[in-house]
């Protein structure tokens, strides 16, 4: 807590009583003390990651860790995202109308320009993922952003899509991940184990599918309600970026 105790009207944090302040400062000091204490050198797993980088079939170290060494974590993380969407949808749809069914000219034209660009950037990030910074999550995030834009302007593109596509799209990521893992087991290896050349191919496929699925999930999270059959209201939460780039 830097500086003096700022008085004056604060609806936000409320007046932090002195005791609270002292406790927080003490906690921060303890954390800093733990952080600064000199610890016998442990350089983390950097060397191990580099040593096994060749086998992982990918140059970028983060993607190697994310999609090969600790692929199980990423599988569970896809399930977290899937779970987030299911939980948001399980709450009854909000009964409120989208603010402006007909967005202004500028906004819709801007969106028409931006969305393809974002899809392109997403594709590039996906492709760059194997050797530089980039990968499934970043591409998925960009695609999610594109979906949010489409949702905001509730463009006609959304309602053109078939309804069941969204829930399949959301399940796509986790399902594909499981399939990859089981495929490895069928070939007599451990769950989710792939090495060398096969690994490169597997990771690229995984990245493409996961990116799509993350994009859909993030847009669905923003959409915030269930695509009910027969629900009127302008925008249905169905983003539309499964076309476009692809490898």
């Amino acid at each position: 807590m830097t500086g003096n105790e700022s008085t004056g009207h604060r609806r936000g944090m409320g007046l932090v009583p002195l005791f609270n302040l002292v406790m927080l400062v003490a906690l921060f000091a303890a954390l800093a003390w733990g952080y600064l204490a000199p610890v016998s050198g442990s350089s983390g797993l950097a060397h191990r990651v580099d040593a096994a980088l060749v086998e992982s079939g990918v140059e970028s170290r983060v993607t190697a860790v994310l999609l090969n060494y600790r692929a199980y974590d990423t599988l569970l993380e896809c399930f977290v995202l899937f779970l987030g969407v299911v939980a948001v949808w399980s709450l009854r749809p909000f009964r409120y109308d989208r603010h402006d069914p007909s967005p202004g000219l500028i906004l819709s034209s801007l969106v028409r320009l931006l969305v393809p660009l974002m899809v392109l950037v997403g594709g590039y990030l996906l492709w760059a993922g194997s050797n530089q910074a980039g990968g499934a999550f970043q591409a998925g995030a960009i695609l999610g952003g594109a979906g949010v834009l489409l949702l905001l302007t509730s463009s006609p593109l959304l309602s053109a899509l078939p309804r069941g596509l969204l829930s399949c799209g959301i399940c796509l990521g986790p399902v594909f991940f499981l399939m990859m893992g089981l495929a490895a087991m069928v070939l007599g290896r451990d769950f989710m184990e792939y090495r060398g050349e096969a690994a490169a191919l597997a990771i690229v496929a995984l990245e493409v599918v996961t990116a799509l699925s993350i994009g859909l999930c993030l847009a669905a999270l923003f959409g915030g309600r269930r695509p009910e059959a027969g629900q009127e209201g302008a925008g249905k939460a169905v983003p539309s970026q499964d076309g476009g780039e692809g490898r």
């Binding site: 303890a30 954390l31 003390w33 733990g34 952080y35 204490a37 610890v39 442990s42 350089s43 983390g44 797993l45 191990r48 990651v49 096994a52 090969n68 060494y69 600790r70 692929a71 199980y72 974590d73 569970l76 993380e77 399930f79 977290v80 899937f82 779970l83 987030g84 299911v86 939980a87 949808w89 399980s90 709450l91 009854r92 829930s167 399949c168 399940c171 986790p174 399902v175 499981l178 893992g181 089981l182 087991m185 069928v186 007599g188 290896r189 451990d190 769950f191 989710m192 184990e193 090495r195």
Partner: protein
């Protein structure tokens, strides 16, 4: 899958993969989620059962996911306690799934807000199977960051399930629950960061092997302990538990109280197996003190409740205290302490889930669960009230039940280690538990007759699954050597 050369312990992966994939299937099969849900539940229970039998026969095993050795990759560890918890989740989970099938069937048959229950069921099965998979993942995981992800999965799915009932009370409770568990997860993650900083590895076994008391490790211990205490609602952090467990749907309350709470506690136990030798007596006594306070406070609150489900929820707050009391004796007893506390966890899980299922059926039938006017319930729902009574016995720790064996092991350990304050807390605890359980059971079993035949709404599968779970709690009283044999099994 003919050409499949099964890895030595590939059985460890199925209890995690099966429920997760069943959840996907249940989510996609919008038409009849119940069928896919029940098949998923059955498959998972079978997988957990085979895993349990395999470990009992061939001893524990570990399984490196992705083929990478632990410091780099993640490994699953199937030692005695882990597999025991997986089996507990399977048994309780299967009974709850059968109950849930019957519950939604009768709710929909009751009409009223028809569509709402159909939607509830459509989302119940995916959320529940995800939770089940996450719990199995949590029990079997040997990697501390993986534990964070599974903890988060468990938290999110249980919040989704809690909010499913749609009442404002349950949604406010779900929100409070989610915020508390977010706080818990983040402090757990910071603890994991500190451990990673000092040991450079995320594998729990390697960390605990090289564990030495230093400032970052002490800090990590504090953060992880606080995070997990928040998760399993130990006394000072129990504020969110009762409203969340009481206001949820009947099967969901049983899931939360029976299984989800055990996840947080299991990790706490796993970490403290490493921390115990480092830490002085003072800290462990504080832990036991919190446990004792939980028992007394939870029992007192339970006794003052007017609603049956609130009483059972506060009883969970109290029973969690029992799981933490034993920590001072863990280091001394040669594995007796661990066997006792795990046996208590198992019998509590079955008994508490049966109690909540029975309470849920009573609520559904009577339309309310005010304890003081439950007359005639015994007449309308004989099997459910009998299950309620049997489950109550196990919580009180009276003879034929598993609770009795657990209490016996606790007391004999406490007496042999001459820790008389633990004996005192145990005796006072059982008296308090007896008081509020007898209050609830005497009202549920009240022989007062109610004129007229009211239409029985509760489905047969609901009554029989609650009774089956209560009978498992009774059976645990007689088959103690089987699960306890596992405690020599080191993964």
């Amino acid at each position: 899958m003919m050409g499949l050369q099964l890895q030595s312990d590939c059985w460890l992966i199925w209890p995690v993969i099966l429920p997760l994939s069943a959840a996907l299937v249940a989510f996609l099969a919008k038409g009849q989620p119940r069928l896919s849900g029940l098949t998923g539940a059955l498959l998972t229970a079978l997988a957990s059962g085979t895993l349990f039998l395999k470990v009992v026969n061939h001893g524990g095993g570990s399984y490196d996911l992705g083929g990478w050795q632990p410091p780099l990759g993640i490994s699953l560890r199937g030692d005695g306690p882990a597999v025991l918890m997986v089996l507990m989740t399977a048994v309780t989970g299967l009974a709850i799934s059968v109950y849930a099938g019957g519950y939604f069937q009768s709710r929909i048959a009751m009409g009223g807000k028809g569509r709402r229950h159909i939607v509830q069921e459509r989302f119940f099965w995916p959320l529940w199977l995800l939770l089940w998979g996450a719990l199995n993942g949590l029990f079997l995981s040997a990697d501390i960051f993986n534990m964070y992800v599974t903890l988060e999965l468990v938290a999110l799915s249980s919040v989704g399930l809690t909010a499913l009932s749609g009442k404002p009370a349950s949604q406010v409770a779900a929100m409070r629950y989610l915020l508390a568990s977010l706080l818990g997860s983040l402090s757990f993650l910071l603890g994991v960061a500190f451990l990673y900083k000092t040991h450079g590895s995320l594998d729990l076994a390697t960390i605990q092997a090289a564990l030495a008391l230093s400032p970052p490790v002490a800090l990590a211990m504090a953060l992880i302990s606080v995070g997990l205490m928040l998760k399993c609602a130990l006394f000072p952090f129990h504020f969110w538990l009762a409203p969340a467990h009481a206001n949820a749907l009947a099967p969901v309350s049983a899931i939360l109280s029976g299984l989800v709470i055990k996840g947080g506690w299991y990790l706490f136990f796993r970490f403290w197996q490493g921390f115990l030798p480092l830490v002085g007596d003072g800290v462990v006594v504080v832990l036991a003190g919190l446990g004792g306070a939980a028992i007394i406070w939870g029992a007192f609150q339970a006794f003052c409740q007017q609603r049956l489900k609130m009483l059972v929820a506060y009883s969970t707050v109290a029973q969690i205290g029992y799981l933490f009391i034993i920590f001072p004796l863990l280091a001394i007893g040669a594995g007796q302490g661990a066997a006792a506390v795990f046996y208590f966890a198992i019998s509590h899980s079955c008994a508490k889930a049966a109690l909540f299922l029975a309470a849920g059926s009573i609520f559904l039938q009577m339309g309310h669960d005010r304890i003081n006017n439950l007359d005639g319930v015994r007449q309308i729902l004989p099997i459910t009230t009998f299950a309620f009574a049997l489950a109550g016995l196990s919580l009180m720790g009276l003879p034929p039940t598993g609770g009795f064996i657990a209490k016996y092991m606790y007391l004999s350990l406490a007496v042999s280690q001459d820790s008389w304050w633990l004996v005192l807390v145990m005796v006072v605890g059982s008296c308090l538990t007896a008081i509020y359980i007898c209050r609830a059971v005497s009202h549920v079993l009240s022989p007062r007759m109610v004129a007229g035949r009211s239409q029985v709404v509760v489905g047969a599968s609901m009554e029989w699954s609650a009774l089956a779970l209560a009978l498992v709690a009774i059976l645990l009283g007689f088959i103690a050597p089987l699960p306890l044999g596992l405690f020599e099994v080191v993964g």
